[in-house]
């Protein structure tokens, strides 16, 4: 792995760490997601400091180039992340549907009560 790639990776790790910390400080993401991003940043830092881990992994998994493996791994991780988000959105949709329905039924009942009082 070239020196330049190592430096790039260290910067990437720092960038992720700073980004996650900013959002966490502003309270825009909960701790459990911030922890995930920290872990991500940590792994990138480790492999850039000890590039041997990467070349060993690449050899055992059958990749010609270390950079190829990094790209494939990243795509895999992003894919899983998107799947998790899809599931989360479906859950959120269920909750909003429930809220809209119950609020609308309540509004109808309140209106009926008001009419009766008149």
């Amino acid at each position: 792995m070239s020196k330049n790639l190592i430096i790039t990776l260290i910067f990437a790790s720092l960038f992720i760490f700073i980004l996650a910390s900013r959002y966490l400080r502003k309270g825009r993401i909960p701790e459990k997601y911030a922890l995930l991003w920290y872990l991500f940043a940590f792994i990138i830092l480790i492999v850039s400091l000890f590039p041997n881990i990467l070349s060993f992994l690449a050899r055992t998994l059958g990749f010609q180039l270390v950079s190829n493996m990094i790209i494939v791994l990243l795509i895999g991780i992003l894919f899983l992340l998107v799947m998790a988000l899809t599931i989360m959105i479906a859950g959120q949709k269920k909750k909003t549907t429930l809220l809209i329905q119950e609020v609308s039924i309540l509004k109808n009942e309140i209106n009926n009560l008001k009419e009766k009082e008149k």
Partner: protein
């Protein structure tokens, strides 16, 4: 006397909703069995809301558009909260005829079925609107998928004219699919061992408004429905308990 509710989902139905309601009102004047009505206004952008309010039609305005599944489920929730015995799904666009409601609820009143579908295809002799040719092909394909998943033959798989008993009102209160609700709930109820009866009805061609199933979406619709029904075959369901 059993408490019966007509659930009428309405999205931009300003042209038809008042007529539909007046037909039901006329029917109630003549008939011994009265039907209560609840219109679910699914965030219509036209004058539907104003018409509902001005004419004192019982209605629930959804505070945000939910789509057909969420709107109809609101009606079933209303039926559950108000202790109705039978809930009938009824279109607000003038396709359905209130005189057939009697035929649809009879099997439930006689305890011969738990849910009843008003079918356009069961009686080949009968005239009336039977949907376009391409739609009929789609309905047949869905029918064969339901046969595969539940081993039961359903003819009119997408009919929105149907009645359910109290147990199923509770079932729908708990969960109801947000999209393609008719074929999906039919398959699920059959898998749960509820008794289905299809009753022949005549439908009119819609007078105004736009159907919730648009033409260019048909292939996508079919793929989704078929996938959903296949999944229903491989899912486990708690069978209903009948005493």
């Amino acid at each position: 006397m059993k408490k019966i509710l007509l659930v009428i989902p309405a999205y931009n139905e300003e042209d038809n909703i008042l007529n539909t309601y007046n037909f039901i009102k006329e029917y109630n004047k003549k008939s011994k069995q009265k039907y209560d009505v609840i219109v679910i206004n699914d965030g219509s952008k036209d004058n539907t809301k104003k018409i509902l309010e001005d004419n004192n039609i019982p209605h629930i305005n959804l505070v945000h558009n939910l789509g057909i599944g969420g709107a109809v489920q609101t009606g079933y929730k209303y039926a559950y909260y108000n202790d109705y015995d039978i809930a009938v799904q009824f279109d607000g666009d003038g396709q359905h005829d209130v005189n057939y409601v009697e035929n649809i609820i009879n099997p439930i009143l006689e305890d011969k079925a738990d849910f009843v579908i008003g079918s356009r295809f069961i009686d080949k002799e009968k005239e009336g609107f039977k949907s376009s040719a391409s739609r009929r092909v789609g309905i047949k394909i869905i029918s064969s998928f339901i046969k595969f998943a539940t081993r039961k033959k359903v003819f009119d798989t997408t009919s929105g004219f149907r009645a359910v008993n109290k147990d199923i009102i509770y079932d729908f209160y708990l969960s109801y699919p947000s999209e393609y609700p008719e074929p999906i709930t039919t398959s699920e109820l059959l898998r749960k061992n509820y008794r289905l009866k299809e009753v022949s009805v005549m439908m009119k061609e819609r007078v105004g408004g736009v159907s919730s199933i648009r033409a260019w979406k048909n292939v996508y619709y079919m793929l989704n429905v078929c996938l959903a029904i296949i999944m229903i075959k491989f899912r486990r369901y708690k069978k209903c308990q009948r005493i």
